[in-house]
Symmetry: D2
Subunit: 333 residues, 4 copies
Amino acid sequence: MRFFSDNAAPVHPKVMQAIADANQVDTAYDGDRLSAQLDARFGELFGRDVAVLWVATGTAANCLALTSLCQPHQGIICHREAHIEVDECGAPGFYTGGAKLMLVEGIGAKIAPETVSDLLGSIRDDVHQVQAAALSITNATEYGLVYTAQEVSALAALCKQHGLGLHMDGARFANAVASVACHPADLSVRAGVNVLSFGFAKNGGMGAEALVYFDPAQADAARYRRKRAGHLQSKGRFLAAQLLAMLDGDLWLENARTANAAAKIIADAAPERLMHEVQANEIFIRLSAGEAASLRQQGFDFYDWGEGAARLVTSWHHKPEDVAPLAAAIAAL
Amino acid sequence: MRFFSDNAAPVHPKVMQAIADANQVDTAYDGDRLSAQLDARFGELFGRDVAVLWVATGTAANCLALTSLCQPHQGIICHREAHIEVDECGAPGFYTGGAKLMLVEGIGAKIAPETVSDLLGSIRDDVHQVQAAALSITNATEYGLVYTAQEVSALAALCKQHGLGLHMDGARFANAVASVACHPADLSVRAGVNVLSFGFAKNGGMGAEALVYFDPAQADAARYRRKRAGHLQSKGRFLAAQLLAMLDGDLWLENARTANAAAKIIADAAPERLMHEVQANEIFIRLSAGEAASLRQQGFDFYDWGEGAARLVTSWHHKPEDVAPLAAAIAAL
Amino acid sequence: MRFFSDNAAPVHPKVMQAIADANQVDTAYDGDRLSAQLDARFGELFGRDVAVLWVATGTAANCLALTSLCQPHQGIICHREAHIEVDECGAPGFYTGGAKLMLVEGIGAKIAPETVSDLLGSIRDDVHQVQAAALSITNATEYGLVYTAQEVSALAALCKQHGLGLHMDGARFANAVASVACHPADLSVRAGVNVLSFGFAKNGGMGAEALVYFDPAQADAARYRRKRAGHLQSKGRFLAAQLLAMLDGDLWLENARTANAAAKIIADAAPERLMHEVQANEIFIRLSAGEAASLRQQGFDFYDWGEGAARLVTSWHHKPEDVAPLAAAIAAL
Amino acid sequence: MRFFSDNAAPVHPKVMQAIADANQVDTAYDGDRLSAQLDARFGELFGRDVAVLWVATGTAANCLALTSLCQPHQGIICHREAHIEVDECGAPGFYTGGAKLMLVEGIGAKIAPETVSDLLGSIRDDVHQVQAAALSITNATEYGLVYTAQEVSALAALCKQHGLGLHMDGARFANAVASVACHPADLSVRAGVNVLSFGFAKNGGMGAEALVYFDPAQADAARYRRKRAGHLQSKGRFLAAQLLAMLDGDLWLENARTANAAAKIIADAAPERLMHEVQANEIFIRLSAGEAASLRQQGFDFYDWGEGAARLVTSWHHKPEDVAPLAAAIAAL
């Protein structure tokens, strides 16, 4: 069984069905009947007017969001291990026209307000230094930790005070919401997030993410930038169909709960091995080379995470009965 | 019946089936078993080693291709009505870091070698003027005309002489090949094309185009640029599946022939109305406002093309019996 | 005697003196006592609050101005023969991050409001096409024609109506003001210009232009962009000194009048040869190859301007007695 | 007396004279007689063919150099306190089209080969991570330390092994050469440097730096990029004049020796206060707020460097007798 990443999981059957159902002639790009429903449907979910753009990848969603919050000569604060810094091949630099990622530290890729304050305090207020315009946080983080609504609010307050925009990379936003068991608006717009990359590809989708603007006016320029980046697919109805299927009956939440539950089963099997608390669907454990080899021999696949450690990621299609053997195998090491 | 654009047509059932079949756990991004077959399969088609990258849109394919042929301070010659100039919201400027599109004229969006020579001759060879580095042609053109292998060769020879790279925007390459009834290599690599945007979305695909590098080494940087543009989808197997399904049994060619045949039926109904010879699957006809209204009342939809003219586009799903009524209605005007 | 270009002329002695006088220790960059006077001094000249940035070249001034008026996904309308299009090696594309120059025609590189209206009318209001955000005009134009205050106002009114910013490339703004004999504000801020590249290098300066923001708030981002473009010179006092020396006693106007007067002497010698009315300091005349050779033999140097034509440019250091021989030689052809 | 920075010092009289001497009509841009001498004159200095471009600032020199060594999707390794990272307002991101600065540590802003090796070893060789294409080092460093020829060679060897280009930010290259008392080629081309930003503005110039390409072919694209960045001044002869005057009789070296000697006098007055060895013309000393105030009261000006520290910079115009009082004052604290 594979625990490499949730982004390699199968597409959820309901999403596949929605794609099949969308296969008819319709208006091209985002002029179709499905895309036209997105603002309203996500608006219901978040309890306010929003503007939503589908894009095929999290990188595109993140980077379009950053261009809405940052001019080319400005900077974006993020964690040193943020996906936008480490795993997007410099996409933010490309999309923003050379804006600077300003890196901060924090355990488990989580950023504390003081860290942001310290960074801001260290920037000279003159034209020789790039000035920060935005903060980007990832929820759940790259290490599977979750910002609570309160934590997001604290960061948002700081942003507001310093005139920074707040972006949330929510590639695993569903897992974060499932983890803290709050309303999705609590972790985003009510807490002060300006733009959310709401991920679905890791959560049962095929190739669609929702870029959610809580200030709909900000989306106007983003629509041009999406086209300009080659992300306005001509058969956009197939992306809209995915997103709508995920919203139907809160499939997004159900899938995330399943993934989180699977992670918990594994985590509970070896609490002493955990490098970070397992709050969502990623498990980082200490694992010797020999132990890793043993697990692999038993048919479990996953990434090594440096020396003596491993990362395992669960997803919507890991049922409890699927992960129990892994949990047992780890416990038995 | 809708004749707005081939890019709004349904996905071909065999492509839908291939997508469904690809729905299993596999390696993410382009590490899956399907993506791994692309180079070989397209290599067979073109009769030589190629490197192929899937991307979701023609704009992405075109612009990635341009970055392979042109530095930011250089220029790309194209037709004044080329898609990259007129319909991609400035994407080439974004992807290339501000390279300049250098526009030339030509009937039916087709470029003649002399026009390119004239333009090249008009550029002062000093640092105050942008120097051309590439030529981009569209086959079939934006007006449905087709470059023959000989015509492409003539342009390629000129490019070689002046040190220019040659890109072909083949959003409707299949229709061009079907039109001139030659080997696909004759219209591309054998003629001297360096990079081909081989379109499938307009020809029965869902959201996948093949960016074909006839010099595989040139693809190396493009792989980074694709990621950096947010176009490396995590479930890339679904894009590869589309391309492979289109290659199977030359479905791409069959679909293009169907579309071209449908266009011919319409064209033959009103030869005196044609603004351009119908060589592929686009029909531009003179049509008064009243005539257009009459056709629309009979259930035919299409775009006005300025005053007194209309554009109709056929696609793989327009069977002869589907277009016959339109042909009759036009003839009866 | 050389009539190649005013940009190769000597530096005016008063400017040289000001440079020599500025040679003392002072605060670096634009923190010196001279730079600090620019806003006030130019404010007096224009009769209102302005923000002024020195830069070394017209290209830098123009392109920084454009970034203030245009986002990367937008466009700038300019003449097909505008300096920014033809002679800056694609600098606007570099500075703006790939914004598009949208070219219009007009005799003598002068743009008429209807031409702009027509262009705007031809742009589809959808995300596939670049939308215009600014108009850039050159005064005096690249062919030595001058926009009157009324003409600028008419263009500015159109810009306002369509939400476009208005930039004036004033590499020869002084010559334009001298030509129409109005207040400099009449040709710029009172007419509705938002940002002016006020040129001095062609008018007796060494290497300093004034980028004048009539809305001082717009200059804030430009200050960062200037630094980011490597144009914030550490000994900026030497640039400020040039500008201040040019303002002293309206040396800028006196120099421009001298240049214009010299051009008029030449123009009057051969009215029937003129390709454009000589309104500033550039003369375009019909001249056969033999005639050109004859003039050159007599010691006059200038650029050929295509087949059978020549361009001559006068500058501040062309006294009437200097140009009289050339006028006589042309008359005698 | 001011010890803020060498970039605020007066222009050396010989440079001023050369500027005055250049004030005649000549060909514009870099077509003049002075600019034409640069390649040969710098070629003599370095003992081989070089291509040299003048630019007005160190930022422009550095960033043009980086574009020669790095594609937009790649990265440049530099010190966390390098000028290009900390004090150029993101200019590298602008010039390179979003390439990434990859930061390493090192005492006194000096980079050790192992640090570079470690960084390179930490980059996954896949398209998700930016790959390094160049290393940029500053000599003398931002803290006044000097790389010896051997140290540069060791870094260059590493670069060669990994296919990286090597750029040297030589804003204070003269001070470095004076410090190690070697041939300028030993610290640059013979050691393996590909492109050198050879600074003169901090060393007695007005506004001219030499961008030195040891592989002249690499300069070709840079000439276009210089124009495109607005750095091709029309009266370029005044920049060339500065550089030539600095080369005459090795004025550059004499000036640097003077500056270094002045720094040594100050350093020797308080060896126990030094935070870094004084190898060139910058002195970083521990200084309490009270001590700083006392020095300022005695007429000495300088920058605080965080809490309890100060930076003093000497330049070509600090004669021994000028700095002796400061040395005495520090010793007397």
